[in-house]
Subunit: 343 residues, 4 copies
Amino acid sequence: MRDPRQIAVVGVTGYSGLELARLLLRHPSLETPVFYLRDANGTACLAERFPQFRGWGEAPLRPLGVAAIRSSGAGTVFLATPHEVSAELAPQLLNAGLRVIDLSGAFRFHSAETFTSWYKLPAPHAAWLGEAAYGIPELYSKEIAAARLVANPGCYATSVILALRPLVESGWIARNTSVVCDSKSGASGAGKDPRRDLHFVELDENCKAYGLFAHRHTPEILEHTGLSESQLVFSTHLLPLARGILSTIYVTLDPPQTGPDVEALFRKFYAGRPMVRIWRAGTLPELQHVAHTNFCDIGFVLDSSGRRLVLISCLDNLGKGAAGQAVQNLNHMLGIEEQTSLQ
Amino acid sequence: MRDPRQIAVVGVTGYSGLELARLLLRHPSLETPVFYLRDANGTACLAERFPQFRGWGEAPLRPLGVAAIRSSGAGTVFLATPHEVSAELAPQLLNAGLRVIDLSGAFRFHSAETFTSWYKLPAPHAAWLGEAAYGIPELYSKEIAAARLVANPGCYATSVILALRPLVESGWIARNTSVVCDSKSGASGAGKDPRRDLHFVELDENCKAYGLFAHRHTPEILEHTGLSESQLVFSTHLLPLARGILSTIYVTLDPPQTGPDVEALFRKFYAGRPMVRIWRAGTLPELQHVAHTNFCDIGFVLDSSGRRLVLISCLDNLGKGAAGQAVQNLNHMLGIEEQTSLQ
Amino acid sequence: MRDPRQIAVVGVTGYSGLELARLLLRHPSLETPVFYLRDANGTACLAERFPQFRGWGEAPLRPLGVAAIRSSGAGTVFLATPHEVSAELAPQLLNAGLRVIDLSGAFRFHSAETFTSWYKLPAPHAAWLGEAAYGIPELYSKEIAAARLVANPGCYATSVILALRPLVESGWIARNTSVVCDSKSGASGAGKDPRRDLHFVELDENCKAYGLFAHRHTPEILEHTGLSESQLVFSTHLLPLARGILSTIYVTLDPPQTGPDVEALFRKFYAGRPMVRIWRAGTLPELQHVAHTNFCDIGFVLDSSGRRLVLISCLDNLGKGAAGQAVQNLNHMLGIEEQTSLQ
Amino acid sequence: MRDPRQIAVVGVTGYSGLELARLLLRHPSLETPVFYLRDANGTACLAERFPQFRGWGEAPLRPLGVAAIRSSGAGTVFLATPHEVSAELAPQLLNAGLRVIDLSGAFRFHSAETFTSWYKLPAPHAAWLGEAAYGIPELYSKEIAAARLVANPGCYATSVILALRPLVESGWIARNTSVVCDSKSGASGAGKDPRRDLHFVELDENCKAYGLFAHRHTPEILEHTGLSESQLVFSTHLLPLARGILSTIYVTLDPPQTGPDVEALFRKFYAGRPMVRIWRAGTLPELQHVAHTNFCDIGFVLDSSGRRLVLISCLDNLGKGAAGQAVQNLNHMLGIEEQTSLQ
């Protein structure tokens, strides 16, 4: 019988992986996690490879291999790997009886067609797609607690879905009107590989839009808000900062509402969900309020007609947008307080 | 008879004023401009007060006084002053026979009610409101060339109006659909006065929305695009950078169009207007492309249905958004090449 | 008998105060701290005033008053106040039997003359100067554990003293040679008051030196390294970032040493001191390695002659340079693990 | 007979190359420059490849080839290429009768041994080393005006040499004391190639030292200041900004001097040299004062003993540190005003 508190982590080199390591090393309910890297380079411990971890507690670093993970006794594995790698590793680890939390996009869709159409790749893991829980605990905590496989959501998608879901369920969004989501992200969301457009000089003092009508987080948003493809307009921008996503979301309401009504809707929807913080009507969160946290902060302004609503949804793309939410999912799988290690 | 090439500048201490000084000092068709400051402090020349101008050519700095400007022989005066100050100074200088280019919001509306309703101040200068030309030369070059008073537009307004005007005139914007303008600006647009929220630490690694449904550039956009107040949603955000505005603008088209059609519309509209650069369909400008220039760059992406159009409009808020456009207006008033000193 | 685990905090509005609040709220060995503000504005809890604390646990916010603190039962008080305020409050609180950790410069010198000469103020608290422990626990842990009053050191001073102290004690620094300390700091070290030179636009893309031969941390460095005033050259620079100090320190060695010798000296000196991390000879720490931590990282490069040594000493000015070190001092005063709440 | 005003530019893709293109396109005394790229990709003009140049005037872009440059009629060629490429191209172009301004390190040393020892490469161009003028016009204007080959200096070296040269020539630097040069640079100085350590996230909110006792600009500084290798300590740091170098330089004076004496020394030394701006004794330049200019600004503070001098020397590493100085050298070679196109 595998112990779910024995943790394996695959792929610690990226920004999400490093943040995950930080959160797991200080998590009070876990055994020391073991890290696996394709390129472990003979170094035996995490801090030798990543000197910023010295003094945080030691953890073993081992060459990646499914057999090694299987025989290690680990009960839960985090995959902080590209989707191609996750697609290959996850089924093997699941078949060996481990529970898997995958931070990539490989298992985020119930439909293989959706995956293939947006990722331009076959979806070989179709057998597992139906079983994966979509890892936003504020929406799917029961499924996550019971799941063998959790697909940790996209960072943009988390910020947009958490802001829209209460409105969608309320039926207040006017039919046949566009919902515009203008999302802005720091550079750590774009990954760690050196790229010309992520060179410091290219992004410093710059701001640019990218991926219009083509961003891979689009189908996640459609699936978990229920908006139609023709209703949603989703855009993404790069900002000259390291961490954080701020989504400005434009919705038309019908019938018109008051500020207190909208606030009450959100407060009720997220009651008992401490990681989503609702701001008072007319006040707005900023990126700095959520940087280095696992919070998603949501605020809004309603115009005087009560019809035009602008929402601001903020989170840290490495926190609630990736590693933090992954640990929150783990906490649900272990049946412990969801904030554990996240404050 | 006053010489319009003799220039007075009031209010050089702000960011727009300093940029204006830079552009005027290197302008090849002007006499040396004279700078006026309420707090001239007995310093006799610009570089003594602002050491960054040493080596750029000398220019006198004098205590502010309408009489002094009148008797100096200047024919054209730039007001880089707050709107209360401009409202007071401009009529006196106009009555003395000078031409005025005002960078504040004091004379941007034909209607005194509009001014009062957005600026919460009486509009004592009502006699002059009707005569002021709105200083976007790509739209109003004839009026500007002939004007005694030019109201230099708001920085956000310039970026939005230049992007929307061709679409409005084409009649392609679907009726009863919202036009969403999500604008993002660097910190120099917020002025130079020390403010808690503009402290380096407060804005660094931050992004925040502000002024929703309340920004003073809204009525300029309404007046010069012809959109109705219920159709326009205009939001503004602060970015952690010094210079530049990027507006992401969401429009629904009816009937649907193709990318080449939209590109052709813009190219035709701005033919012979070198300071507006149109990007090829599907390619998008970035802030860095326009920083430290007088260009407004416009690009767009159209979705596959041809109905949903996302425009990106970029400019430097101190260039085309303020001082650069002011000099471009001066060039039209002098009847010389509009790019003079702006490359 | 007062309980030292009952904590009062005066002055939470500055950057050090907010960081201190964060560290104390999550500290596992303390009662809920009570916060005192001159301008408490009738708000009853911390998160109401500072919304970024919502979800971190509640804490009372009360109007500042010595009587209120005295009668609250608190045993230890942190003063995150300007030195004039600390100078006034500390003696009253000490006389009431509280232990005091003061983050200002008011009690950092044994000599009243030194204080007066650098701070241009009388030193009315002379009676307490001799009793104050200088709060670098790696050097003075015994004094701190027993102290009623701890003077938390300056941020620059901490980075320089920790790097120089082992060399001074070894006797390796060549006589009559200068020791140059070129320190670079992020903007949060300059405080939170809006100032023209701390406006985002003024510091963005900028770097500047300030306070040459006049910085108030100089006498702390002289006193705790034993260098003479003519030997030390200490300069400070502002960097366009929020948190962190990096000091580059230039020392001439006599007799010449090898890299392993220097590394061994530092490792031995800081053995059992986990918050100072020594880097391997020839490798250098960076600001990012210590941001948001309580570590001071020290690395060095020695030239081929073994005579010219360049040390790099990094810390977070709000962590080990202020609030973190204050909590580390508290831990010593309470007799608990010094890293508690600091990882 | 070749016309020196007909310009060829090799290697426009790097940051120095792009800045050079900007300066040459607006230069009033030149024919339209022709740009050569190894990878010209069939595009025929500069703005097609680099859209930020649209509206700046057109210029041809051609595939790189020595024969093509030779037959183009160009009289002067700029090499904005890596030193290996410059080492190969320059002799061929010189032999064809062109004058060459090389921005790389290939021809900066009179001694082939120095080049080989620091660049770890053979110096095949030894025949040309003796003939190259070192391109700091404030020191070597006569040599530059007459030269067939100008070696444009390193950016760090320019900032340090300009600050130290007057002191060296005055004989005021105390014998046997170290001269410490602590230089800080923005990221554009490190080149445009994507590198892990230049990723936005790695440099944002970071500062780090690099290249201690190993930086390739060291031998330039030694040769043009006359300091001995044991006297100079030169360190380099990366800052989170795009453009600019600030060098803090620590000198011991013997005999002691006064502030006015030091200021007078510098003013006399740089009299008639408008691109070096001397600050009043006790005032210091900042990076923002020189960004996007060709100025080198020098200020200093002297301690009360008159013995310890701290100099601040600032320039834009792409301006006076590279492309701007290259154009300044061209102006001397053409016998025209040295500031032409540089204001």
